[in-house]
Amino acid sequence: MMRHWTVALCALGLAAALVWAGSTPVTAQGAGSIVGEVKFSGTPPAAKMVKVNKDTQVCGSDKPSEELVVGANKGIKNAVVSLAGAKGPAPKPAQKPALDQKGCQFTPHVIVVPAGAEVDILNSDGILHNIHTFSSANAAINKAQPKFKKVMTEKFDKPEIVKVQCDVHGWMQGWIVVGAHASYAVSDDSGAFKLDNVPPGKHKVEVWHESLGKLSQEVEVKAGAPTKVTFELAKK
């Protein structure tokens, strides 16, 4: 009887330790995960400033560009890490993805949506914006979103990285990453990311950043354990 309790406690402790280590409970049988960082190689340049020369009461004053954000420890924000050749359709997100225009910035700056998903494009600013996309697989969009048009819904059918800009406010730029599968992650302020549910085995992990380009690495993922990867991106 006592042995049973010990085993149970140990198992619980192990589970707790796993949760504490930051990994979500393993859902797929024997799946691993990839955790890591995207870092800037070399001395990061000083943040570019965008000139806010119109609608300043809504857009604010000059602000740092989101084109390249390097945080503490040279971590790069808004890099998209994905598992090359991951299988299966992307799951439907629990919540409809939304891209907001707030303070004359696209929020979030980079959004990952599964192919075929609808995206709500919000205008929280109450001034004219226009959603102008640059894409080749999906139909190009250039729609006006005046102050009274709070929400527009757009559908992105084909996997592709789509640039979004607003011509009214030339500095506004964002990215919609239309994913072919579920294995995508966007790096946070410190450059950290995490890909879950990675089947054990050899994988190619790719990173893409809007101004630093692409890079990939081979990794070996072990069942039930996180694999660590560090990407170093340099100025092209």
Binding site: L128, A140, I141, N142, K143, Q145, P146, M152
Partner: protein, 746 residues
């Protein structure tokens, strides 16, 4: 008696018939003076005929006599006696009140060429000279193709893609650029003649051709000998004409010519009607390729990527067909245009750009071009585009315009197009197209430049579909109510005049009392305005292929002491010199001949030359009003200190400058022209948009125009006509009385 047997009736019938034949039967229409002469001859012949014997004459006169004496014809007699003096009085009024017409410009169209010219210091004998490149028969096609590239980079702006003298700068020039497709131009001339004209241009014309009025540059400054011969080969190759050949003994003779392609619009192709769209033939892409390579490739590129040799100098750039993004469509945003959309643009061209209409091509060829264009973006054209469905049309009305204005402001059209619609909005300077090329927001007050047409339906369609590949988005679902699309379209089409009021004479009106200095004073709005087109200066480096300012509107008045000019022009930015931003002061200048002209001779239009200098009244945003003397571009001497008697001020609002510039009619300075009333003087205009990097020779300019100070209010139009009426009535009464007396006596 049947009226047809009446000699008088027959005569009237013959006169009316011959008039109709002269007036409408002769093409091109004969001038009025000629028609009057012909009618005089016919009248004389008729009188000879009816008076050939006594009886006939009596028969001719009988109805007239009856009208004068017959009591039964009393009402007709009275009516005739009232109508006739009124007609004569009206005629007298039109003659007395006639406005001054510009003196006729007599010039030899094809002046005799000199025996030899000096080409970059080398003597070239024109007499008997043949195109040396024709001897190299194996490379003829290659040389002609190279000539085409030179043509598209240098000549097309004025002489046009079609070689018809209708390039996008052509409307600004007088005399107009030569139309090479006209059988009266290159088909009648030897190639050596063309060489002379191209090498020496307007400045090299002999005196009988009124030097300096032609803006044709002397191309020897820019093109080498062989390049000029290549262009000449291209001109003949592209038009299908043969040059005239030199004959033994110096005489020349017409060579056999192929029948030239006439440029008159093809019947039924004027506008694509919906019915024509239904009946659109399936073009043949292979056939289209052949047409494309002849007519389109020099700008749009061999691969259809909009990167032909002519492209870098054009703004907007020629379309890149490979992306499947087209501006002017009836299809919904994000989709390719319909075949009918493409056909329409090919046929009509795009106003305000270098894309001409191609109605010179047979309809079948244009449909083939449509088929070929689609092959540049096969994936994009795979699916049939969905048409944008506009709500029911709303006619323009006071209410519609008010709602349109409200919506124009709510959807913030002003962000790019400016509050007044002049393309001067805060976002305008940074706009780029999908190819990262700077793009200008449309000036909504100049509908004649709207790429897709100026009709309200055109404007509503652009709002609904957006202009793909440009920052202009679709507003289809982005107005409050669907019909707002029409209200905004009605409002946009109300923003400017329908078309410019281009004038050939600037009439300076006589004014009493002081002339206001303030350009915004109501006084100026009451003065009649004349528009003058400007074109880019592409003769001297740095050249201005894409001028920002394409028109000035001018009002002018004078008093005993002063003359004043009021200029209005659109400029999207009020700019000052800034080395870092590469901007300069905004400027405008009025150019006059420094010396009174002999006949039609004027200084060279680009600020004169050493023998015939120019005088400028000018204004700059950083220096204000001034005067200058010039003897050529870059040879400008501003007047200083006391010599400057010109004054004035400018205001800038909503993308538009208004300027008053005035000067004593006679100045202390002997070098300045005097402004005498009743004389035909010359004036031309120049403008610089410093915000677009325009300065010095990078400018837009106009041809020479006449300027005339109208003589103070003549009373003639009010005195002469009543006199004419009185005299006519008196004569009528005398004739009737005499006729009646005679009749009674008989």
């Amino acid at each position: 008696m049947s009226p047809f047997r009446s000699k008088l009736f027959q005569s009237v019938l013959v006169l009316a018939g011959t008039f109709l034949v002269f007036r409408f039967g002769i093409q091109p229409p004969a001038p009025w003076s000629v028609i009057t002469l012909y009618m005089g001859v016919v009248l004389l012949a008729l009188l000879v005929y009816v008076s050939s014997d006594g009886d006939s004459w009596q028969a001719f006169l009988a109805p007239l006599r009856a009208l004068l004496v017959d009591d039964s014809l009393m009402p007709i007699r009275v009516a005739a006696m009232i109508v006739l003096p009124l007609c004569l009085g009206y005629y007298a009024y039109t003659q007395a009140a006639a406005t001054a017409e510009a003196p006729p410009e007599l010039r030899a169209v094809h002046p005799a060429p000199p025996a030899s010219i000096s080409f970059r210091g080398k003597t070239v004998d024109i007499q008997g000279l043949d195109n040396p490149l024709r001897k190299d028969a194996s490379n003829l096609k290659k040389h002609a193709a190279e000539g085409g590239v030179i043509y598209i980079k240098n000549c097309m702006y004025c002489h046009g893609d079609n070689l018809d003298g209708a390039g996008h700068f052509a409307h600004a020039f007088n005399p107009p650029p030569a139309n090479f497709t006209d059988p009266g131009t290159i088909a009648m001339l030897q190639e050596a003649y063309l060489f002379w004209r191209i090498a020496k241009g307007g400045p090299g014309l002999p005196k009988e051709s009124t030097p300096w009025n032609s803006v044709m540059p002397a191309w020897e400054d820019r093109l080498g000998e062989e390049e000029i011969w290549k262009v000449i080969l291209y001109l003949y190759d592209a038009t299908g004409y043969q040059p005239r050949r030199w004959e033994e003994g110096g005489e020349h003779k017409h060579s056999a010519q192929p029948s030239p392609v006439r440029l008159a619009g093809l019947p039924g192709a004027a506008l694509l009607t919906p019915r024509a769209a239904e009946a659109q033939p399936a073009g043949d892409a292979a056939q289209g390729k052949a047409v494309y390579e002849r007519k389109c490739m020099l700008c749009h590129g061999e691969k259809g990527d909009g990167a032909g040799p002519g492209a870098p100098l054009l703004d907007p750039r020629p379309r890149d067909f490979t992306k499947g993004k087209f501006k002017i469509r009836t299809s919904v945003s994000g989709q390719v245009p319909t075949a009918a959309d493409l056909f329409r643009i090919i046929s009509e061209g795009m106003p305000g750009t270098s894309m001409p209409g191609w109605k010179v091509l047979p309809e079948r060829d244009r449909w083939s071009l449509v088929a070929y264009l689609k092959t540049f973006a096969p994936d994009a054209f795979k699916e049939t585009p969905k048409l944008a469905v506009l709500p029911k049309e709303v006619a323009s009305s006071k209410e519609s315009l008010a709602r349109g204005k409200e919506m124009f402001e709510a959807i913030e059209c002003n962000k790019c197009h400016g509050a007044g619609g002049r393309g001067d909005g805060p976002s305008a300077p940074e706009l780029k197209d999908d190819w990262e090329q700077p793009v200008r927001a449309a000036n909504l007050t100049k509908p004649w430049n709207f790429r897709g047409g100026s009709g309200t339906r055109d404007v509503a369609t652009r709002l609904a579909t957006g202009l793909m590949g440009t920052p202009m988005p679709t507003f289809m679902d982005s107005v409050e109510k669907p019909e707002d699309i029409w209200h905004v379209a009605n409002y946009v089409t109300s923003l400017g005049q329908d078309k410019p009021a281009f004038a050939t004479i600037l009439t300076v009106r006589s004014a009493s009392g002081p002339i206001p200095d303030d350009p915004a004073a109501p006084f100026w709005a009451q003065q009649p305005a004349a528009d003058f087109p400007l074109a880019g200066q592409v003769i001297v480096d740095p050249r201005n292929f894409n001028p920002s300012i394409d028109m000035v509107t001018v009002r002018a008045v004078y008093t005993d002491a002063e003359i004043a000019f009021h200029l209005t022009w659109d400029d999207p930015t009020k700019s000052a010199p800034d080395a870092k931003a590469k901007t300069f002061a905004d400027q405008v200048a009025l150019q006059f001949a420094a010396r009174p002209a002999e006949g039609n001779e004027r200084p060279y239009v680009l600020m004169g030359d050493g023998s015939n200098p120019a005088y400028l009244l000018r204004w700059a945003s950083d220096a204000g009003v001034g005067e200058a003397n010039a003897s050529g571009l870059g040879k400008l001497t501003p007047q200083m200190g006391e010599a400057v008697q010109a004054k004035g001020m400018a205001v800038f609002a909503d993308g538009q400058y208004r300027l008053v510039i005035k000067r004593p009619r006679v100045t202390r300075d002997l070098g300045d022209p005097e402004f005498l009333a009743g004389r035909f003087l010359s004036v031309s205009f120049m403008a610089w948009d410093g915000g677009a990097g325009e300065t010095e020779s990078k400018m837009s300019f106009s041809s020479w125009y006449y300027l005339r100070l109208e003589e103070p209010g003549s009373t003639q139009p009010y005195v002469i006509p009543p006199l004419v009426i009185l005299v006519t009535v008196a004569l009528e009464l005398a004739v009737v009385r005499r006729a009646r007396r005679r009749a009674q006596g008989a």
